[in-house]
């Protein structure tokens, strides 16, 4: 039980840390952080709204 709670706490900790990091990084940037998996050219614009 305690190990499962530990796993839950770890997952929450990682998620909060990652989102904090994202907020920190994107707050000081003009563009979006794009993962760019693969080797194809990056599109010039973000996904358009429907």
């Amino acid at each position: 039980m305690s190990r499962k709670l530990g796993a839950l706490a770890l997952a929450l900790g990682i998620l909060v840390g990652a989102m904090e990091l994202k907020t920190l990084v994107t707050a000081h940037g003009k563009t979006a952080v794009i993962m760019d998996n693969g080797v194809s050219p990056v599109p010039v614009k973000l996904p358009p709204a429907n």
Partner: protein
């Protein structure tokens, strides 16, 4: 139409991906590193699809943008699973594989929920922006997870060369994207910036292919070489 440089980068990346999968099969490591191979195979198919759409519709088309970001989201999830598979291998000796899987599922569900909460406020953008938001959030989760994994490798004195080098490659890969993001903000006018993403995309298959080619599963690193500060 893609430029000559973009085409060269694409060919090098595809070649490296094929090389990694082939080496894994030849050295009977395909199933042992199945999720890493799965990520590279999905990456190869995604790049083929993107190239097809790019040639038909062009770089500025909505079709290419959709194809790029939806495949990118799929690949980021696959990379997340690959990171978790490496974590499972590292923590297997402590009989914590089940807990690693539990953390992975919770993290994935949490990230999906968070991404949905961000884009749900504007329902008309849900379909298009959700994939992009999820990809972006999973990137940061992967980044934090990889650094935690590196800490665990040092703490547990993991010595399997392949595992150590694959986690190090992932750490460099994630960090390099952070660097390219900084460069894109500092010097957006330079042409090289637009090629940074695809160049970095070649890094992971090349480094993993070199690891599989140069080291066997029995290869070990001494822990003293992993720690920078002598004790």
């Amino acid at each position: 139409m893609p430029s000559g440089i973009a085409l060269v980068i694409w060919i090098v990346g595809m070649g490296a991906g094929v090389c990694f999968v082939t080496c894994s099969v030849i050295r009977t490591s395909f199933l042992r590193y199945f999720f890493l191979n799965l990520y590279i195979i999905l990456s190869l198919f995604s790049d083929l699809l993107r190239q097809f759409v790019l040639r038909f519709y062009g770089l500025e088309s909505a079709q290419y943008t959709y194809a790029y970001y939806y495949t990118d989201c799929l690949l980021t999830v696959a990379l997340f699973v690959a990171v978790i598979s490496l974590a499972s291998r590292i923590f297997a000796e402590l009989n914590m594989t089940r807990h690693v899987r539990l953390v992975a599922v919770l993290l994935l569900l949490g990230t999906v929920g968070f991404s949905y909460a961000v884009v749900a406020q504007s329902a008309h953008r849900l379909v298009t922006v959700f994939a992009f938001e999820l990809s972006q959030n999973l990137y940061f989760v992967g980044l934090v997870l990889t650094y935690l994994l590196w800490g665990a490798i040092l703490k547990l004195q993991e010595s399997r060369t392949r595992v150590v080098q694959m986690v190090l490659s992932l750490g460099l890969y994630f960090s390099a994207y952070a660097g390219s993001f900084a460069l894109a903000n500092l010097a957006p006018k330079y042409v090289i910036v637009q090629y940074l993403g695809p160049i970095l995309g070649c890094f992971l298959p090349i480094s993993w292919a070199l690891t599989i080619m140069r080291h066997s599963e029995d290869s070990r690193l001494t822990t003293a070489r992993l720690v920078a500060v002598p004790r």
